[in-house]
């Protein structure tokens, strides 16, 4: 019981961290960023009014809070859902493998090793420490004692049984018998040595000189659930400790869903961010300079827009296996920058014709300053209203590509890939369809709610009914 409470507490702390980051730290950063760029610290009254209106639409506002907090929290997934320990201590040796893993994700330019050898932590072998095993024994040394006892009895019994069947070869024994006997004895000896070593560890564990702090859900996205009795895919079962079951290769669905959430949202944000940035640039240049620049670019945009983008991405993906960034850049180049240019272009045309901009031009203010200070804030309005729907579309595209098998590399936690497995097993393993569908639908629904609220806040429909 205390164990579960502790896990809940752990989860709560991470969520709280995410909440604090989203509500206080991120806006602060945003403000600093604007300050550095030279914008006034406060929004214009019109924007403030829009923000107030957005907050008044509770459904959208809470959706926004929910999704940002969840996404920011999901940036720390390595510390919540992972097979690596947050902290592991054995005698005087301490390691933080989950933290290292997180650092590797957060800072892709350097590598911190999160690898810990078994032999360094009282386990036998040279591979990575089995943290779950370690954690169980560290928490319950009695369990380890029982296991060791079992192993010792088993060893003795096996040895006796062997000797009963194959008596110690005498001097007249044939060579192969001797060799067989020696090999068996060596094997038993090794097991005995292991046992001895483990018994020494038992002392360490019982003496409280070892400890292990596992994440809330101690299974990572790439880990196969060998501890389950039946072959994958496994149906969800709380008794066996797989609340959402496993996929066809035996990976636990819980981390797949959670990491899939992060990757989908991050992908959509990257595509939207890059695409809108580029789109604003192109649309701005078109609208501000006009003339032949506009005409030529407009033709290019039209031609580009006629490319069937999903098809083209699939062709490219069938030739080179795209990574996250390649896929994101492909999406940006092929679609996401196009739509926004029309609006930004129109907005620039409109704003440029206005008196205050003409006055600024007339008084010799530089183009750059006019664009960034006067026109851009207005041109951002369509961007903000479109972004949520764009994000829905890009998450949908990623899921579609993964579903068709032309998306992220195999092994990447992805909702689309799980849906494909769901299609293949629609008759017998419904959980492979239901779980990603629910995750996808609820995520997209939340984002759509935000989008609808933003639209309503920025462009409130005045309902006037005459009779």
């Amino acid at each position: 019981m205390t164990h579960i409470l502790f896990k809940l507490l752990q989860l709560l702390v991470v969520l709280l961290l995410g909440f604090v980051l989203t509500t206080y730290v991120l806006p602060w950063f945003f403000r600093c960023f604007l300050r550095i760029l030279g914008y006034p610290a406060e929004f214009s009254p019109v924007t403030q009014k829009r923000i107030r209106r957005f907050r008044a639409i509770r459904r959208g506002y809470w959706s926004f809070k929910l999704i940002t907090v969840l996404f920011v929290t999901s940036l720390f997934l390595e510390l919540i859902v992972s097979s690596k320990a947050l902290m592991i201590r054995y005698e005087d040796r301490t390691a933080y493998p989950a933290l290292c893993e997180w650092l590797n994700m957060a800072w892709p330019f350097g590598e911190v090793s999160s690898f810990n050898k078994k032999s360094d932590f009282g386990q036998i072998g040279e591979s990575e420490v089995d943290y779950r095993q370690f954690a169980i024994y560290a928490a319950h040394p009695a369990l380890m004692r029982k296991d060791l006892e079992k192993e010792r009895t088993a060893l003795t019994a096996e040895k006796e049984a062997y000797l009963a069947e194959h008596p110690t070869p005498g001097p007249d024994a044939r060579r192969f018998e001797v060799r067989r006997y020696e090999r068996a004895m060596k094997r038993f000896g090794k097991r005995g040595e292991t046992l001895l070593a483990l018994e020494k560890n038992l002392a360490v564990f019982e003496g409280g000189r070892a400890g292990c702090w596992m994440p809330v859900y101690p299974v990572g996205p790439g880990d196969l659930r060998y501890d389950l009795k039946s072959n994958p895919p496994n149906r969800p079962s709380l008794e066996e400790g797989v609340p959402l079951g496993t996929d066809m290769s035996g990976r636990d669905v819980v981390p797949l869903m959670l990491y899939g959430f992060r990757i989908s949202l991050a992908f959509a944000l990257v595509v939207a961010g890059l695409g809108y940035g580029f789109g604003i640039l192109v649309g701005g240049v078109q609208g501000y300079y006009g003339g032949w620049v506009d005409i030529v670019t407009q033709r290019v945009v039209e031609i580009w827009g006629s490319i069937p983008f999903l098809f083209t991405i699939m062709i490219i993906a069938s030739i080179v296996q795209p990574s996250f960034w390649i896929l994101a850049v492909l999406m940006v180049v092929l679609t996401s920058w196009l739509g926004i240019t029309y609006y930004v272009r129109a907005e620039f045309y409109r704003e440029k014709a206005k008196d205050y901009v003409q006055a600024a031009i007339g008084s010799g203010v530089s183009d750059w300053r006019i664009i960034t200070r006067h026109i851009l804030p207005n041109a951002l309005v369509p961007v903000v209203t479109f972004a949520p729907f764009g994000i829905v579309a890009y998450i949908g595209s990623l899921v579609s590509l993964d579903y068709l098998g032309f998306g992220l590399p195999p092994g990447t936690p992805s909702w689309g890939a799980l849906l494909r497995q769901g299609l293949e097993n629609v008759k017998f393993y419904p959980h492979l369809t239901i779980i990603p569908t629910v995750a996808l639908a609820s995520t997209l629904y939340t984002v759509v709610m935000i989008g609808e609220a933003v639209r309503e806040a920025f462009d409130p429909k005045v309902f006037s009914r005459l009779r």
């Binding site: 033709r299 062709i315 579609s400 032309f406 369809t433 996808l440 639908a441 759509v448 006037s464 005459l466």
Partner: protein, 362 residues
């Protein structure tokens, strides 16, 4: 009027340019990328050997070579021995193909090449898939109109009432589930015994459909067709539903607040006449403009839904050709896709010019 005609002529002239740009780009991607057709043929051969169980191949994966004449044949087939622009122009049909006696034979001449999966002409393969995708597209689009226009109007007239709120929630839920996921979920619920085994798990028709048709059992055929088409159709229309309903609603809301509606009421016209004759006509403009764009969808089908529901339309053909690296078919589908999309754009402009007297193209 004169300006309009010249505008459309210019738009039509832009089609070939756009077409060439796109197809050349995709052709170039296919040619430039590593793992082109020869590499693919090599892998396929390797796979075949592995399936045969020839253990020897494992040691020499890297060195495994195709017979030289096979390579030459592939090279000639894909024009790999020619530069990319020349190869492209041969494919297009504006450059003599020396390997076939210097004839001009390409897209322009209607020669799309031979599919090596179906060993049939690409054109007939593609054309044979058209009716299936068009059936879905057409029925789906009609269904969208029939449901969404009245629903949008009703929502606008009952803005912020209980009816509006609940339908909004439902419509947005539909929007947040991609069509193919909806198909999958529906197949799970109503195609297996999970909830109610009501519909088939994919397929376009029953296997004995053609026999029954030949036997004149038309009623059975229609029923069977509808039975198979229900789930994929829901997937087809789902996301479009939300877009069109909300577009209709917002458009009508905007127009209900317009000055000319007040004028119409001031003339003493009935509410029905003002809403349905004056406001609705104006709010239909943005919706009708979407028809052109929908044409593209009509013909192109959908990879996702056709794959999910196993419907042998254009989408599934494209998908399978990709998997099998059937490049002639892929290029053929691209050609059709782009052409339809471009004509769709022009159609949108035409419709706009037809229904909105204010529009003047220059």
């Amino acid at each position: 009027m004169h300006g309009m005609i010249s505008y459309f002529i210019r738009r039509l002239l832009l089609i070939p340019i756009t077409f060439v740009c796109i197809t050349f780009m995709v052709y170039g991607i296919m040619r430039l990328s590593p793992g082109g057709p020869i590499e693919q043929a090599r892998t396929q051969m390797l796979m075949a050997q592995m399936q045969e169980g020839g253990g020897g191949a494992f040691s020499q994966i890297g060195e495994l070579a195709l017979p030289q004449d096979a390579i030459d044949q592939l090279k000639i087939y894909y024009k790999l021995h020619r530069s990319i622009p020349v190869g492209y122009m041969i494919w297009l049909g504006v450059w003599p193909d020396d390997d076939r006696g210097g004839i001009f034979s390409g897209i322009i001449q209607g020669d799309f090449g031979i599919s090596y999966r179906y060993s049939d002409s690409v054109l007939s393969t593609i054309v044979s898939k058209f009716p299936i995708s068009v059936t879905f597209g057409l029925i789906g689009y009609l269904a969208t109109w029939i449901v969404c226009i009245p629903l949008g109007v009703q929502k606008a007239l009952l803005h912020r009432t209980w009816f509006d709120m609940t339908t909004s929630l439902a419509v947005f839920l539909g929007y947040s589930i991609p069509g193919f996921v909806a198909c999958l979920a529906l197949m799970l619920m109503f195609g297996t015994s999970l909830v109610w085994d009501l519909f088939p798990l994919g397929g376009f028709r029953s296997e004995n459909w053609n026999d029954m048709w030949a036997a004149g059992n038309i009623w059975w055929c229609i029923k069977d067709q509808a039975w198979h088409m229900f789930i994929p159709l829901v997937g087809y229309v789902m996301s479009g539903f939300a877009t069109m309903t909300i577009l209709m609603k917002n458009s009508l809301l905007d127009n209900l607040g317009a000055d000319y509606v007040r004028t119409a009421f001031a003339k003493g016209l009935s509410e029905r006449r003002v809403i349905f004759l004056h406001a609705l006509r104006n709010s239909m403009i943005p919706i009708c403009v979407g028809i052109g764009g929908a044409i593209g969808l009509l013909f192109a089908g959908s990879f996702l839904i056709e794959k999910t529901c196993n419907i042998p339309g254009m989408g599934l053909l494209g998908f399978n050709s990709l998997i099998e690296r059937d490049y002639p078919v892929l290029m053929g589908i691209l050609v059709f896709g782009v052409l339809i999309r471009l004509t769709g754009n022009i159609l949108s402009d035409l419709i706009l010019a037809f229904i909105d007297p204010r529009v003047r193209f220059k």
